[in-house]
Amino acid sequence: MHIPDGFLNIATVATTYAVSAGGVGNAVRIANRKLGEKQVPLMGVLAAFIFAAQMLNFPIAGGTSGHLIGAALAAILLGPWAGVLIMSCVLIAQCLIFQDGGLLALGANILNMGIVASFSGYYIYRLVTSLLGNGRRSTLVGGFAGAWGSVFLASIVCAVELAVSGVSPMGVVLPAMAGIHALIGIGEGLIAGAVLSLVLATRADLLQLQRI
């Protein structure tokens, strides 16, 4: 879902850069206050995993592929603001080193796949786990739902940015983006569920860390 340069108009570029700069600045401030010794290696591992896993595009219907975003997984393990920081590291590196996602579109990409995906994934997870109670099943169902929702909502915000920029009418691009990402989100949900299952089996204490 990395937007290249050329799709967004100047007003959308400026707005999304401003919102993302504010969001990342706030994430740094909150992390500065709350981040502890224990979270440091997990931040590194999650950023490394999300980068590596994002390279593995999986096929979905009709000659289309999807890949993990990873924001929901990071937010579930470390909290939504830490998720914003991790995703910003990944998206900035992908933009500057790998030419994946445009320079002018970086603000929008951080907004969609960093801020929107982290917060929606985290709060959907929290909602589901508060309804289902404690336990392995609750964590896995919540993780799947949060991951799916994060992709779905990020694609809707992305579609709005494209429509506002005038590349395609809202009535065309929004259902197209939401529809295809409803499918890709299933892959995101399965990967998040698999990783959470692995964490529960090997280092369940990591799920007890303070969320940032």
């Binding site: 879902m1 990395h2 937007i3 290249p4 340069d5 050329g6 799709f7 992390a31 500065n32 206050r33 981040l35 010794e37 979270q39 440091v40 290696p41 997990l42 931040m43 590194g44 591992v45 999650l46 950023a47 490394a48 995993f49 999300i50 980068f51 590596a52 390279m55 593995l56 595009n57 999986f58 096929p59 009709g62 000659g63 289309t64 592929s65 999807g66 890949h67 920081l85 991790i86 590291c89 590196a93 992908q94 500057l96 080193i97 790998f98 030419q99 994946d100 445009g102 320079l103 992305c158 494209l162 590349v167 395609s168 065309v172 691009v173 197209a176 983006m177 295809i180 990402h181 890709i184």
Partner: protein, 97 residues
Amino acid sequence: MKSKWWLISLLVCLAVACLSPLASSSPDGLERVAEDKGFIGLAGEAPFQVIADYVFPGIENEVLATMLAGLIGTLVLFGVAYGLAWLLKSRKGRAVA
């Protein structure tokens, strides 16, 4: 052993990066929509290229070039995120001292 969990996790991430040549080369969700709705042509070239499209430049074997790009990126991201977290954490310590 328990304190080295992150080292094992990083090795797993590097193993995942080595699988990257197996990835589907079909367009992703946004690219598919941009093709179907006729605005893919608006996409511009990047003003500079480092390891463009996850293929390390100057290596003829594309499988190796992709794996190398994946390994480099995975290590860079581990270092950057670990370093950022370490800076934010240690600044908290200094503020208290």
